[in-house]
């Protein structure tokens, strides 16, 4: 299979404009003849559904939650980047592009990332016009902050609830289109398969989560805006329902999966307290602007933090990375927290935590200022831990947060199945091996508001409105039968272990061997363990109840079945990528001082995996990354 990224010719800064001109258009009167399915209603899905409906397409939108407003984009805290340069501090589209490419450790496409930086400025305009209440200065203009590894202040924010406000903006735009009859919304409905016929995406099979009814939906194109697969690890900052089912089933129908091993472990999360833990909570990394990360110098020091004098503390990020200090990118901060805990210098009951200390910032700026900046985060921390972070340092530890990998897409966001698109976190495209803070919101909205409305039209104009199959077509019947068969199998096993037990075991395998640092031996063992666990799952899982009801266990069971397959692909990818880059740290490949050692000669490519059947070895296809504008350097934050 030859991967064609369809990157337009010409200078970087002109590619998108030129491409937009070259894309075919659908006549305004003909747009109403097309149907588009949007799966997922987070930032990417809601913005795409709203924008496409505004253009005149008929949209069907799906989400598994009870309302589209609950998609997990809502939980994003810190902010959204845009190259507005309102602060006059030297920002530009090119600098945002450069930072994002470099931050991704040179494993993303130049053209995509440049386009992302280019449209970032339009996003802020659009959101303000929708009534998103961004933070403002006393003069009435928008406020910015510096965020996660950036040396300019380009992050727009709405206290610690930026994702919420942006999502409610997109949700309200979509709600307007629902009222106008241009978007038909299907809440509590989960996509369980993609229908492909004649090599093109034709629709989806869904399950109504209340009645269990399996339904068929046909369309001219299908957009997967279904987020990432961090819940493979069981514990992550994802929502409980976040899952990979839509993307994975599309993969099994022929969509290649790009860079599955690139996962982001976020450094500032609330540590695990016990086996009952169901999810992990992120503390926005904006906290690292004012908080100082430290552990005791001495291993096994059990004194409370206030009894440890200044000269017996190790501010390890400031010590190792004097120029970036506590603001080093996420992968670097996480890995270093792991190192100090591995050395026995971790804090708290579990010893798997480091301090994030605000004492100096409170002394410098006063408690009121710190409260104004981070009040809701401090409150959240106190509610969860029962400790007051104004008085005692927070305890934080890394947790799985985001997946840079995802369905492989070309410049038009189309997967290797014509008519099937992937937007936002569900695709692999813009963040390379590591995503910078405040870039996920930017990408989700860029894809939905400003990219897919152009690129989708080109595909639709080319196929014409007659190129659609009815839901009576055998392709639908076949896909529906497969879904029903899987469900009845899961219900009939009636084994001895619960879905959660399997999920927790899988999560532990992934965290231990395919988490913050990986090695060949561990990965090979993990692959075997996953296969065994998967085999056991299909013999020993217990899913009670029936299909024809609200069945919370069955919902989980279909998702975990997919995690048990996707995890193996993540391990395959991690094993084959014999280098360290971004969030992918292979212990065999590091510099003498323990930093990630890339191998650009051999691995400057996107690994796009092809599904070959159950328990068959997946096959990798390579899309070479060509860097015409940036020079590949070792990332240094020293």
């Amino acid at each position: 299979m030859k991967l064609d990224a369809k990157i337009p010719e010409g200078p970087l800064a002109e590619k998108w404009n030129k491409h937009k001109f070259n894309l075919k258009l659908v006549n305004p009167a003909n747009k109403r003849k097309y149907e588009v399915i949007v799966v997922g209603t987070g930032l990417a899905g809601a913005s795409a559904a709203a924008s496409l409906a505004e253009l005149g397409y008929n949209v069907k939108a799906f989400c598994f939650q009870d309302s589209p407003r609950r998609a997990h984009s809502i939980a994003a805290q810190g902010g959204i980047n845009a190259a507005k340069n309102y602060q006059n501090d030297g920002d530009s589209v090119y600098r945002l592009f450069y930072d994002t490419i470099k931050g991704g450790d040179y494993r993303a496409r130049e053209a995509n990332v440049y386009r992302l930086a280019e449209v970032s400025v339009n996003i802020i305009d659009q959101c303000v016009a929708q009534g998103v209440p961004f933070a403002r200065e006393y003069g009435g203009l928008l406020a910015n902050r510096s965020f996660g590894g950036a040396q300019v202040s380009r992050t727009f924010y709405a206290r610690g609830q930026t994702g919420q406000q942006l999502l409610l903006g997109a949700y309200s735009a979509m709600s307007r289109q629902i009222a106008a009859g241009k978007v038909k919304m299907y809440p509590r409905t989960e996509m369980l398969d993609l229908v492909v016929h004649d090599g093109k995406a034709r629709g989806i099979i869904t399950r109504n989560l209340i009645t269990g009814k399996i339904e068929r939906h046909s369309a001219h194109a299908v957009l997967l805006c279904t987020g990432g697969y961090g819940n493979v690890f069981f514990l992550s900052t994802n929502a409980m329902g976040s899952n990979a089912t839509a993307a994975w089933r599309a993969h099994k129908k022929g969509a290649l999966f790009g860079n599955p091993c690139f996962t982001q472990i976020h450094p500032t999360c609330i540590p695990v307290t016990g086996d009952h833990q169901s999810k992990l909570t992120l503390m926005s990394e904006s906290l690292r602007n004012d908080g100082r990360v430290w552990v005791p110098k001495q291993a096994g020091d059990t004194r409370p933090p206030y009894e440890i004098p200044e000269d017996e503390r190790d501010y390890f990020l400031e010590r190792k990375y004097p120029s970036f200090g506590n603001l080093v990118p996420r992968d670097v901060a996480s890995r270093n927290a792991k190192y100090v805990c591995d050395e026995g210098r971790g804090v708290g009951a579990s010893k798997l935590a480091v301090y994030l200390d605000f004492a100096d910032a409170i002394k410098r700026e006063g408690e009121a200022t710190i409260r104004a900046k981070y009040g809701n985060l401090f409150d959240m921390y106190e509610k969860i831990t029962g400790e007051n972070p104004y008085k005692t340092p927070m305890r934080i530890y890394p947790a799985v947060h985001y997946t840079m990998g995802g369905l492989w897409v070309d410049y038009n966001l189309m997967t290797t199945i014509p008519g099937l698109y992937a937007l936002g976190e569900a695709n692999f495209s813009d963040h390379g091996a590591n995503r910078l803070g405040a870039s996920a919101l930017m990408q989700g909205l860029a894809d939905g508001y400003f990219i897919i409305p152009y690129t989708l039209g080109d595909y639709l104009a080319n196929i014409g409105w007659n190129d659609k199959i009815s839901t009576d077509h055998p392709a639908f019947t076949e896909a529906e039968q497969a879904v029903k068969h899987q469900i009845s199998t899961l219900l009939s096993i009636n084994g001895k272990k619960t879905v959660d037990q399997f999920h927790k075991e899988l999560g532990k395998i992934m965290w231990d061997y395919c988490g913050m640092s990986r090695n060949a031996e561990g990965l090979k063992g993990a692959k075997q363990k996953i296969r065994e666990l998967r085999e056991e799952y299909w013999q020993n899982v217990r899913v009670g109840g029936s299909n024809e009801e609200l069945n919370i266990t069955l919902e989980k069971a279909t998702r975990v079945a997919d995690f048990l397959e996707l995890s193996e692909l993540m391990v395959d990818d991690a094993l084959h990528r014999e280098e360290s880059c971004g969030g992918h740290f292979r212990e065999e490949y590091q510099t003498p001082d323990g930093e990630a050692l890339r191998n650009d000669e051999k691995f400057a490519y996107v690994a796009a995996w092809e599904y070959k059947g159950p328990n068959e070895q997946a096959v990798v296809h390579k899309e070479d990354l060509i860097f015409e504008n940036v020079k590949l350097t070792q990332r240094s934050y020293k």
Partner: protein, 249 residues
Amino acid sequence: MNLTLKVWRQKNANSKGELKTYHVKDISPDMSFLEMFDVLNEELLLKGEDPIAFDHDCREGICGMCSMYINGHPHGPEQTTTCQLHMRSFKDGDTIVVEPWRAKAFPVVKDLVVDRSAFDRIIQAGGYISVNTGNAPDANEIPISKEVADAAFNAATCIGCGACVAACKNASAMLFVSAKVAQLSMLPQGQIERKRRVEQMVAKMDEEGFGACTNTGACAAECPKEISLANIAILNREYLIAKATSEYV
């Protein structure tokens, strides 16, 4: 901790429900309330019983999906969401009564799960600013004073969980509706549709079967996001002005 739970069980929208008693043992005070339910559900599943259905998703207090009515309070004894309620708020030996949101406009789907789609329909009736993608002027073209932006933000933090409705003896949705109306009516971008918005949203609210507001204030007292009762005053003022002067509705 060992606790006794009395939980509302109802098979589906059409069947009759009842409170059932369960005992949970060895509960850690660090667990969240929902994690305690996870433990119970695992036990039920292994015993061959139907686990208790409840809504939840982000488990960090922002998606608004969790919705348990605990010991007579929406989201329980603390002013927070159910997912952010921790077992340290209870004592060993406590009996805890857990019910779904009770409101005609929020029919029970199963056990503790209710249908809150009425809230979505209220937003669809006018809870937006009509601006198609691509139409926006530069974000800094219209300055908005920090005070106004902050006030709009405070109203905009509503998570749409429905605790206000569950807390209200009349099951009124005034706090929810007022938060959106207040946010958008304060902002310069929201002026054009200001009257139409409030009229349409209020009409929809009534149509959905929510009760009337008698200014008791239980909604604001129980709101996990501390949406202020002042928003209801703003809503009333906006509605009055709109009704007195507009051509719509």
